[in-house]
């Protein structure tokens, strides 16, 4: 790739606003022919918004897009496709009940005397797919092939239709190792044909293996574009997470932990989390660090029985323990604030009051309703204690802001007086004020002797409240940091795995 070749696609000053949010702020992206370009960033950094602006799925609020030096203004995915930009998403966007050839030529089937020429279509499809290193029968149903093959058919269709720029949005998320290699070989062929490929993924290893350059986004801004051969993994992670590494020392003096509460040995769930050991003591906050998809949430869910472990043993205060479902966990005074507040946490149409007492009531049983006075006392008490801002307790919880919803969910679990509180991304998507309050609350609960497990992608946050930090990568524990060793730098190093975990 010569530096002086002009970019095939050059987007400058791309901006996109949603009510109250700047989703993209003056973003620049240049793609050269024959390169594979990674788009990196944590959730909410603006990757998919940028893609949607380029393909016309969103109308951008500012900026220009030059394709081959000429400005284009895609109104919808079809027009960007016609202009030369093809997109393939994680979920295959084809019709599984049609044949491979029909999927490849849908809407532009070769015709003969006005009728679809099936024989020619199958013949052409076979030739096209051969270019992608696939030898298969195009007359068979798409659904009879694996997801990887379906992905490649989708790529072939996108390339045949557009042919200049190919955007791949997490194409490898549901593929196994061999299938990923198959996918890579296809992408390399396309690169050799001079296409510009945009590759979006959460797997850094794959980026380093496949891509030439990377553009890193954070909070809707471009942090930088780097040639990958001249950059370290740590540098990339730092850019993605955006932490000033020198900052953030521990705010509290973690006293000696209390008695051993929960001990897990060889805990695992097939397809979700590799076997791990974990000891949690009273008066201790264990932080769970790792990139998205590293297995943080899966660990939390397995311990709480939300997606029950299928291997391993658990002991609670030395006694064996089974956690087949959340009810069992709650009975043993576990609590879990899940990551996805909307679909797993709140019950949107119920009032804040009902949401707060829900778990306590569920544990009490159907026929032992909490007395009205007690409900009022609990709800009012937590609204005051956690400073939940609302018009009144009858308000449906879905009308609250993210921070207040999160506090109400915390109230739900605190009302059950748990011994062990699991928080999965407790500060995601909430405002700065609530953020600080929740961190303070975690520290307060620890001081009262509660055991906490907190999964978070916020480094300073983890440093601030964790007594120790378990680092995860690729669905397994890769290290543990304690005491003085805890700092954002050490966490990022452990995540990037440039050196073995500091014990």
């Amino acid at each position: 790739m010569a530096v002086d070749t002009p970019p095939v696609l050059h987007a400058t000053g791309i901006s996109k606003f949603f009510p109250g949010v700047i989703a993209l702020d003056d973003v620049e992206l240049a793609l050269y022919p024959g390169e594979v370009h990674a788009l990196l960033g944590e959730n909410g950094a603006g990757k998919s918004t940028l893609i949607k602006c380029l393909t016309g799925a969103y109308s951008r609020d500012g900026g220009t897009i030059l394709l081959d030096g000429k400005p284009i203004d895609p109104r919808d995915p079809l027009s960007s496709q016609a202009a030369g930009i093809g997109t393939v998403y994680q979920e295959v966007n084809l019709l599984p009940n049609l044949s491979v050839a029909e999927n490849l030529y849908l809407g532009r089937q070769p015709r003969r005397f006005g009728m679809i020429d099936h024989r020619r279509m199958v013949r052409d499809a076979r030739a096209v797919l051969a270019e992608y290193g696939l030898d298969l029968d195009p007359a068979r149903l798409l659904s009879s092939y694996s997801i990887a093959i379906q992905q490649i058919v989708a790529i072939a269709r996108a390339v045949e239709l557009s042919g200049k720029v190919l955007i791949l949005d997490e194409p490898t998320a549901s593929l196994d190792r061999d299938e990923v290699q198959l996918m890579f070989s296809v992408i390399r062929r396309l690169k050799a044909r001079g296409l510009a490929v945009v590759f979006i993924t959460h797997f850094l290893d794959q980026v380093l293996e496949l891509c030439d350059r990377a553009t890193i986004l954070r909070n809707g801004c471009v942090v930088g574009t780097r040639r990958l051969e001249s950059v370290s993994q740590t540098e990339i992670v730092t850019m993605m997470l955006g932490r000033q590494l020198e900052a953030a020392t521990k705010h509290h003096d973690a006293g000696p932990p209390g008695k051993l509460l929960l001990s897990l040995r060889g805990f695992a769930r097939r397809g979700a989390i590799e076997p791990f050991n974990l000891d949690i003591h009273e008066g201790e906050v264990v932080g769970l660090a790792g990139l998205l998809g590293s297995g943080r949430s899966e660990t939390c869910n397995a311990i709480f029985g939300a997606q029950a472990a299928d291997r391993g043993t658990a002991e609670l205060r030395g006694a064996p323990l089974q956690i087949p479902n959340p009810r069992a966990a709650i009975r043993h005074r576990f609590a879990l604030c899940p990551e996805d507040r909307k679909t797993e946490g709140i019950v949107g149409d119920l009032s804040v009051r009902e949401n707060i007492i829900l778990s306590l009531q569920a544990r009490q049983g159907w026929f032992r309703p909490l007395p009205r006075a007690r409900i009022e006392e609990i709800a009012q008490g937590y609204v005051k204690a956690l400073d939940i801002r609302l018009a009144n307790l009858d308000t449906p919880i879905r009308l609250l802001s993210g921070g207040n919803q999160q506090k109400a969910l915390l109230a739900r679990w605190l009302a059950t007086e748990p011994d062990f509180l699991i928080l999965d991304e407790p500060t995601r998507g909430i405002d700065v004020g609530a953020h600080a309050e929740i961190i303070a609350l975690i520290e307060r609960l620890r001081a009262q002797g509660m055991a906490l497990l907190v999964a978070s992608s916020e480094m300073e946050e983890l440093v601030a409240y964790s007594s120790r930090i378990v680092v995860m990568r690729d669905r397994r524990q890769v290290g543990e940091l304690r005491g003085e060793a805890i700092s954002p730098t050490s966490i990022i190093r452990a995540i990037a795995a440039e050196e073995e975990a500091v014990a």
Binding site: I330, G348, E354
Partner: protein
């Protein structure tokens, strides 16, 4: 609390009053009551009495729909339980044995539906379709295809008799509604059912035993269907497997919908569903009293029901709300408070 309830059922009360008014306009003696042989006699009693099967079904159906489910089998379960009750008395059993056997059969049917929905995770509409189709066949096997008639005074009294001059079916549905209403609202069941219907995943993670709860709800629906089956069987002194409860599941669903309950589950009101059942029966009564040729029956019913549903549609409700809001300063402020700036955009 009571004011909130009244606000919730106000649309249904207004519609019921309108339909009853329509009856009165066509037949001035509509509200007339008199005594015949110690039996209260009048059109309004007929509405309450004839509305009994749908009212009974709508109690259970409300709960099932609140869990985001549906039960298409209730009509067929009526046929089964009616056949069971009639078989017991024709074999010499007492009416109490017949009642218990029918309730047992209804409970079994409900558990079966609940098992398919909660344990096997089959979509409720498909799961209950099984019994809807098979149930009538089971009932026909029990009656050998004929109308199984009986003369047991106890069983007849349940469907066609009176207690304190009021037809027994009215007592049955009112008692059932009060009992279920109290159990649901005075225990935590109502809350847990609503939580499961709104967001089953959240509910499960909050520690609710959604599986057992779902089975229990279908069980209650089966019991309601059993009572409805006994009422229609006692009423005609025979179990008519071909016709008992035929299409009545649709009337029950309609009652729940007219009651303003969402088919997507969640918040529910049994009272509103019962009003829905009475509205349907009042419409039927109006059709019978009108003396129109029979060919118009279904058209008239459809027109009235479409009108009711249009009045209840969120869009129409919202415009009525805005219209009222713009007419008075107090309401206007409330509308603005509830809807943010929207209220000001629509003078």
């Amino acid at each position: 609390m009571i004011r909130a309830t009244i606000r919730r059922i106000l649309p249904q009360l207004v519609i019921l009053a309108l339909v009853l008014g329509l009856n009165f306009a066509m037949f001035p003696g509509f509200f007339h009551l008199e005594m015949h042989n110690g039996r209260l006699f009048g059109n309004i009693i007929d509405v309450l009495n004839r509305g009994a099967p749908v009212a009974l079904l709508s109690v259970g159906m409300t709960l099932v729909i609140a869990t985001r489910g549906i039960d298409l089998s209730v009509g067929a379960v009526m046929a089964i339980t009616g056949a069971v009750a009639a078989s017991v008395v024709t074999e010499g059993g007492s009416w109490i044995m017949a009642l218990l056997a029918a309730l047992g059969a209804g409970a079994l049917c409900g558990i079966w539906n609940g098992f398919l929905v909660a344990v096997l995770r089959i979509q409720p509409i498909v799961a209950t379709l099984v019994l809807m189709v098979a149930g009538r066949g089971i009932a026909q096997l029990l009656t050998k295809g004929a109308i199984l008639t009986f003369n047991d005074p106890g069983l007849i009294r349940l469907g066609g008799g009176t207690i304190l001059s009021v037809p027994t079916p009215i007592w049955i549905w009112v008692t059932l509604a009060v009992v279920v209403g109290l159990v649901v609202r005075r225990t935590a069941l109502g809350l847990l059912i609503e939580a499961t219907g709104i967001n089953e995943r959240s509910a499960r993670l909050a520690g609710i035993n959604a599986k057992v709860l779902l089975i229990a709800v279908y069980l209650v629906t089966g019991l309601c269907a059993a009572l409805a089956g006994i009422v229609v069987t006692g009423d005609i002194r025979g179990a008519d497997a071909n016709n008992a409860g035929l299409w009545m599941e649709l009337d029950a669903i309609l009652a729940v919908v007219i009651g303003g309950n969402s088919l997507l589950g969640g918040r529910f009101s049994i009272t509103a569903s019962l009003l829905g059942a009475l509205i349907i029966q009042s419409v039927n009564s109006a059709i019978l009293l009108s003396g129109m040729p029979v060919e118009f029956n279904l058209v008239i019913k459809a027109i009235i029901i479409i009108a009711i549903l249009v009045i209840q549609s969120p869009r129409v409700k919202h415009s009525i709300y805005l219209l009222r809001a713009s007419s008075g300063p107090v309401l206007a402020r409330r509308a603005v408070a509830a809807k943010g700036a929207v209220g000001e955009d629509h003078p």
